[in-house]
């Protein structure tokens, strides 16, 4: 049976669900009995004071952290059983952005393209131009400002078509133009029935978008 590449997700099916997540760090309980679900076209905003476990939750969802108990399901399959199918569909930009200071903008993006299985959906130099990094594409990242580095990390969002974006404080260090660009990225992704989980304190202003909030540390 042939399945179309983009539209085989029905509009209102629950794609990602987490039930009764519990996470410990250094013997301290960060959160427990945390449940949520996410459908195509929805944003989940994770809030909470510093140290309340936002980053731990996001890493857990990426399969990087250790879960005490609970279950994460992707398209009704436990993630632990379909690990690689799940990893194909998600992208994570964490606090440590995963970009190399010694490599240039282009080299960084070329490397991320190679780590994925899919071919990039548009040429890398076009992505660099969209993020207004074209005058810097041969610069090693340690010569760039924090905001420019953040743009390089965010440029990865455009490399491949991923269903679920998991972002940890993506606004950090961005200027107003960068913030507008990020909002546009959100908008396009949501329009294509993508999902975003983002840890941030900034209000997200997107018209006609369902935004769920999850507040940790209460």
């Amino acid at each position: 049976m042939h399945i179309g590449s983009t539209n085989h997700y029905s509009r209102n099916s629950i794609m990602l669900s987490a039930t009764n997540l519990c996470c410990l760090r250094n013997e301290i309980q960060l959160f427990s009995n945390l449940s949520f679900s996410l459908e195509g076209g929805e944003i989940l905003q994770v809030k909470g004071p510093n140290g309340s476990g936002k980053t731990s939750l996001l890493r857990l969802l990426c399969g990087l952290g250790a879960m005490e108990s609970g279950e994460i399901r992707w398209q009704d399959q436990p993630v632990s059983a379909t690990r690689f199918n799940y990893l194909r569909e998600i992208i994570y930009i964490g606090h440590n952005q995963g970009v190399k200071n010694e490599l240039t903008v282009t080299e960084n993006l070329v490397f991320f393209d190679a780590l994925s299985e899919q071919p990039s959906q548009r040429p890398i130099d076009e992505i660099i131009r969209l993020f207004e990094l074209d005058s810097l594409d041969d610069c090693p990242l340690h010569k760039l400002s924090a905001g420019q580095k953040r743009r390089v990390a965010l440029a990865r969002l455009m490399l491949h078509k991923k269903k679920l974006w998991i972002l940890d404080e993506p606004q950090t260090a961005l200027d107003s133009k960068g913030l507008t660009l990020l909002e546009q990225l959100y908008q396009n992704h949501i329009k294509e029935q993508g999902m975003i989980i983002v840890a941030t304190h900034h209000p997200i202003q997107l018209p006609a978008t369902r935004i769920k909030t999850l507040t940790l540390g209460r």
Partner: protein, 226 residues
Amino acid sequence: MKKSAATAFSALVRRDLLLAYRYRAEIVNPLLYFVIIVSLYPLSVSSEPKVLATIASGVIWVAALLSALLSLDSMFRSDYEDGTLEQILMSPHPTAVLVLAKVTAHWITTGLPLVVIAPLLALSLHLDAAAFPALLLSLLIGTPALSLLGAIGIALTVGLRRGGLLLAILILPLYVPILVLSSTAIQLAAEKVPYSGPLLMLGALSVLALTLAPLATAAALRISLR
């Protein structure tokens, strides 16, 4: 079209070689350390050619082992600190393949230079000319195993701030068979008797490390990143 794991493997090797080229000190340091250890022996033990020739094989291999230990820390450290390691573990390609790419690049930048410079040092230690093939072969077969086994140890300790001593305690017992077999092979060659036995054993160890170490390293990295 889907990209294969081989593409990711070669991209990772190329990236690590490029990083090593931009940070040349990381290649030069272990090599310099190797040269310094070997050149201290004639000064401290004896400058008598006969004495030097008998200890040459052991000296070169002990120096290779210590310099490998020194260079291991750089294998995953910077990727761990800037978050690239998380991205590597989240790649849909098998982690063991990507780990093997990292080990390969590490060996090319730290193991291979030792193989190249060792004959020169052996010459200065008056090693018997008949032992040179055994020296080169033992280094060519043995140093990849040093990188492969070391990767397991460094993957387990990468999350610790001061894992240096722990790494040595974890890894040195695994290095001992390599050290014993290699120096035995070189000594046998110097005495002009067949030396293929210990070299074949060494080869078997290396193949074992090649098949199992990437899997163990991948599992260790997952634990370290929790």
